[in-house]
Symmetry: C2
Subunit: 220 residues, 2 copies
Amino acid sequence: MATVGVILAGCGVYDGSEIHEAVLALLALDRAGVKVQCLAPDKAQMHVVNHQSGDVAEGESRQILVEAARIARGNVLPLGRVRAEDFDALVLPGGFGAAKNLCNFAIKGADCDVDEEVAALVRALVAAGKPIAAICIAPVLLARILGSDGRKPRLTIGSDSTTAAALIAMGAEHVPCPVDDCVVDTQLKLVTTPAYMLARSITEAARGIDKTIQTLIGML
Amino acid sequence: MATVGVILAGCGVYDGSEIHEAVLALLALDRAGVKVQCLAPDKAQMHVVNHQSGDVAEGESRQILVEAARIARGNVLPLGRVRAEDFDALVLPGGFGAAKNLCNFAIKGADCDVDEEVAALVRALVAAGKPIAAICIAPVLLARILGSDGRKPRLTIGSDSTTAAALIAMGAEHVPCPVDDCVVDTQLKLVTTPAYMLARSITEAARGIDKTIQTLIGML
């Protein structure tokens, strides 16, 4: 049975993984019959956001791994304790945590730094010809990691022109994509979908995520 | 368009709403074409549990409403600010938060006290002949609220004999139910499903929740 790693970035759209996207990806993967292992960096979040008010919760701190365990129902491994050989594919859900905790794109844009463990795992899977799916804002990670290596990944973040320009600045090709579809890089085996970059409802997000996961599974 | 209230109890299976159950319910409701409004009590959680270790996070406190906003992507109203007339139906996802924050069943069992705002909203909907769905452990709330009123709600929490005995002690009839099905009380218009009381996977939980929400919608 194939094993798919899902890299979480916390728990909540404004400071961690977008919860709907993560759960919809877990559902689609489980329905596809693969083994799923949630993963996360074992370090502090960039910050904590009060999701009711939208304000930063000053003085509060949370650990990415510990919060990710809420989505994973406890079963999440620190990235530092897994090997690329353990996985046949990776999935990167979105949410601001992907751009605040897995890298600092939310602050530095196209000049962002990527978490070293995330970058190492992505590079190892690409090198091994294993597929990776990235949802919503998470394709910025693929753009930065693979763009730095001189690759030109073919990706989408939907239609947001500012974010698309940043993807291109990092070395990627950006392909506009509607919410119910995904963009495939057949050479690098990447599948990306806009989800809540465009979705106006959970049903819309689910359509693109289902298609993305099915496409990923088809590449195994 | 019908409006369905979803009462959340925080964000995370061990101290709040079970995230998968809540998201699967939101997805099924949205797909059914109803308007959804997330709701939560505006008070502190019983405690905070580190979901990676399973231990209580001593000295930490979180607000139910603020954490529920993570699942709701910000759009959650305090129970004290809504009226029963605004809703055509209610959904109560599970997770320990239902038994720790919406009532204290986790501590006091069949003698539990229910949050007054939750009890008032449930009573008002039942009095108006509007349907209510409860998932996983959340049927204990219906048993306690309606049992106290001398009703005998027909409910399921799956097959756990201890919890079933507590339901009966609170005045309910307990009907064993497999994970992919739901139990209907046609008189009181209640629909209940075991979800993670029995589910071994998110796919299993989704089957019962989808059926539950479809049954609820059919009662509107």
